[in-house]
């Protein structure tokens, strides 16, 4: 049985696809320059979209690693590797240097993430190659809209997370210890091979929180690059600078979930901190790493005009107007079931504010068929990438530029 694991969505859309949406600003005819996806790519994406949404009979065929039936003892030793980012202290204690939480962990204890354990003063990750979820997803599902549109990502996760978002839709793998969830042994080379076998140009580390499986992510990225497969990460960005540079330095693109623009929200809803995440975004920018931002809009908690405006201005000032931001729709999950689904007008308000502040690529997510899922040229306003559900159905960008006016469109595009 395929597990439904998503970061952008959590929504069901009809199997036949959502209604096609178009920007009010652009209603142009298809250009002779248009380069629609070829049939094979389109079908791959369409099938993968269906699988990801759990609405397609092909889902099981596309699951690279089968789900596990129930609690049983696993041979844990092959998953245990010494952690990379920590400092030894007195009395066999250690201080974790992976995320800003800096857990001080005594002998035989684990850090906040639950996937790293101190054995006699040496800190170990318990989740190297311990994959609890693997799927083949369209890259749009991450969502990465300016990165190889219309391609597939071999997507995987281990158990664990370094925060505890009350709205987490994958809490059954992110908020558990590794021994509490089914897992398979997937060493880095196997991951790279499977990605190639399934025509995935990219490995995506996603679903739970890749910060906490950094060692595995780094090794898998190396194996992938040797095999000609790229890597992207979908992360909360709550990470120390050195670890970020070392681990995410190996990524070809990064998507950061910026959960809100207030420390109080991070403290109360995320159980984390905002500032280190903003710092991480700036560091990624300095590293010249292609980065997109997702902001999950939760009714009443992080949906004020002031926050949207503050966020947009911060991006403009500290990153670039060219950094894509996706305002996505919240669905009640986990510990936050008392709030409604985000109204579409709220998302549209967020987009309007960000547009008005001058950001060039502002998307609306989790609303199938909404015209703000497409990419438009910031100069001539023509539609450049059309998306239906998680499928890029038309891709017009040529050599990184708008085919109509020549405006450079930043991103990682097809060669």
């Amino acid at each position: 049985m395929s597990r439904e694991l998503d970061t952008q969505e959590g929504v069901k859309i009809p199997a036949d696809g959502a209604a096609e949406g178009r920007s009010p600003a652009v209603r142009g005819e298809p250009s002779p320059l248009s380069c629609a996806l070829d049939r094979r790519s389109f079908l791959q994406c369409a099938l993968a979209s269906g699988a990801a949404l759990g609405v397609c009979e092909f889902a099981q065929l596309l699951v690279a690693i089968p789900a596990w039936a129930g609690p049983q003892k696993q041979d844990d030793s092959r998953f245990i590797v010494e952690a990379k980012f920590y400092q030894k202290l007195q009395d066999k204690k250690i201080k974790c240097k992976l995320c800003p939480r800096e857990c001080t962990v005594g002998d035989r204890e684990r850090g906040y993430c639950g996937v790293r354990e101190n054995h006699g003063g040496t800190y170990y990750t318990l989740v190297h190659s311990r994959v609890c979820a693997a799927h083949i997803d369209p890259i749009e599902k991450k969502p990465l809209f300016h990165y190889l549109p219309g391609t597939l990502a071999f997507s995987l996760a281990t158990a664990g997370c370094n925060v505890n978002c009350k709205f987490c839709q994958n809490w059954d793998i992110s908020q558990v210890r590794p021994e509490q969830v089914s897992a398979d042994y997937a060493p880095p080379k196997l991951v790279a091979e499977l990605a190639k076998q399934h025509d995935c140009p990219t490995i995506a580390y996603t679903y739970s929180e890749p910060v906490i499986f950094s060692e595995y992510l780094m090794d898998a990225a190396d194996a992938g690059h040797e095999a000609g497969v790229r890597s992207v990460v979908v992360s909360n960005g709550y990470m120390q600078e050195e670890a970020l540079k070392t681990a995410y330095g190996k990524m070809d693109a990064v998507k950061i979930d910026l959960k809100a623009f207030t420390e109080s929200y991070y403290k109360d809803v995320v159980v984390g901190e905002l500032k280190p995440v903003l710092d991480a975004l700036v560091t990624l920018r300095k590293m010249n790493k292609w980065t997109e931002i997702v902001y999950l809009v939760v009714p009443t908690l992080n949906d004020s005009d002031a926050e949207f405006r503050g966020l947009a201005r911060w991006i403009k000032t500290n990153l670039s107007v060219d950094v894509p931001i996706h305002f996505t729709q919240f669905h009640p999950e986990y510990l936050l079931k008392n709030l409604p689904i985000t109204p579409v007008p709220t998302l549209e308000r967020a987009k309007a504010i960000a547009d008005a502040e001058g950001l060039h690529y502002v998307y609306i997510g989790n609303v199938p068929g909404h015209p703000a899922q497409n990419t438009y040229c910031p100069k001539c306003q023509r539609m450049l990438v059309e998306r239906v559900g998680f499928t890029a159905s038309r891709m017009l960008i040529r050599k990184g530029s708008c085919p109509f006016c020549g405006q450079p469109i930043p991103g990682v595009w097809h060669a």
């Binding site: 001080t104 639950g114 210890r177 509490q180 986990y334």
Partner: protein, 336 residues
């Protein structure tokens, strides 16, 4: 004309003063006296039973002496001459009793085997079937490592970790806590006897009765920030725990005053005691004081001075939780 109307001003004032005096409202002394009187009426009993010869000449706890120590503690707690009478005050035949032990500290600092055996014997003598008793913790391997024999069938006392049966799929929530509960708790017992160890804890300050419930949930790692406060108190508020919890029998035979919760011989001492109470907050407060005295004796800072006082104990006693009392005036410590 009513009687009230017939009262003259002088009589009325007399009555007012007399009423105020009875209520103790005529001054500060009276108020305190009333509070103390009230406290005396509703004290939580915490029994500390000791046996200096618990180990005889060796390092291992003597089973027979442990049985006697447990009996003394239970008799003192329930004010009974006969230990079986004390146990029959606690459980009834047909009930399924879970003993939540603590095996995280490994050999040397886990719930004492002889103590657990003694509890199981007395439960059976009180009419509980052996197969209706389950000794449990998070992980079977950890339990075996410290000497428990995993047993999951037949008419014997059952003994295994949650890893054998998993956690419930549904989340239960209270305040800051949202967790999945062990199916041993929810499906295998309707009475819970908490058998923690008296330990220092590097984050929480101390780990005794209340914190032992971290072994009941799937995600204890999420509840260590801020000295585990208010997480420990919130966790113990879960109805599935609160309605089952009847007694804490704290293993204080070997205790830890620093460097916990793992076992470090240099920070442990042979205390040769068990501490029992029906009030887990009062027991935790009392155990905390025991650890503080040992720290003073060893020349260590207080836990407050070490910036890790167990504030969660006060939270557990506050008006939002009322899991017991941490007011020493309302705790009757009985040493036997």
């Amino acid at each position: 004309m009513s009687a009230m109307r017939s009262t003259n001003r002088r009589d009325f004032l007399k009555k007012c003063f007399a009423g105020a005096a009875v209520l103790g409202a005529s001054g500060r002394t009276g108020l305190l006296a009333a509070a103390e009187q009230e406290a005396a009426l509703a004290k939580s009993r915490v029994v500390i039973a000791r046996d200096a010869l618990l180990r005889g000449a060796g390092a291992t706890v003597d089973s027979r002496r442990m049985g006697s120590l447990l009996d003394r503690a239970m008799q003192a707690l329930y004010d009974r001459d006969n230990p079986i009478e004390a146990w029959t005050k606690l459980v009834r035949p047909g009930e399924m009793v879970g003993l939540k032990v603590n095996t995280l500290g490994g050999r040397g600092l886990s719930s004492n085997l002889q103590l657990v055996e003694g509890i199981c014997e007395r439960l059976q003598e009180a009419g509980i079937k052996a197969s209706d008793i389950v000794v449990w913790d998070r992980d079977s391997d950890e339990m075996e490592h410290v000497g428990f024999h995993v047993s999951t069938g037949g008419n014997r006392v059952q003994c295994f970790g949650t890893d054998r049966v998993d956690y419930e799929q549904e989340l239960v929530t209270h305040g800051s806590v949202g967790s999945r509960l062990s199916k041993i708790l929810t499906q295998r017992c309707n009475v819970l006897i908490n058998v923690p160890v008296l330990k220092d804890h590097d984050g929480a300050g101390v780990t005794i009765a209340l914190k032992n419930m971290y072994g009941v949930i799937h995600n204890p790692n999420k509840y260590h920030p801020n000295g585990c406060n208010p997480y420990i108190a919130d966790l113990n508020m879960l109805p599935e725990i609160r309605t089952r919890m009847r007694l804490t029998i704290c293993d204080a035979t070997t205790a830890c005053f620093e460097g916990g919760p793992g076992y470090k011989p240099e920070y442990s001492w042979k205390n040769n005691a068990v501490i029992v109470s029906q009030d887990p907050v009062a027991l935790d407060y009392t155990g905390w004081q025991v650890i503080e005295r040992k720290r003073t004796e060893k020349g260590l800072k207080t836990l407050e001075g070490d910036k890790r006082a167990p504030h969660y104990i006060a939270t557990a006693a506050d008006a939002q939780h009322r899991l017991g009392t941490d007011d020493p005036r309302r705790i009757a410590v009985v040493e036997v």
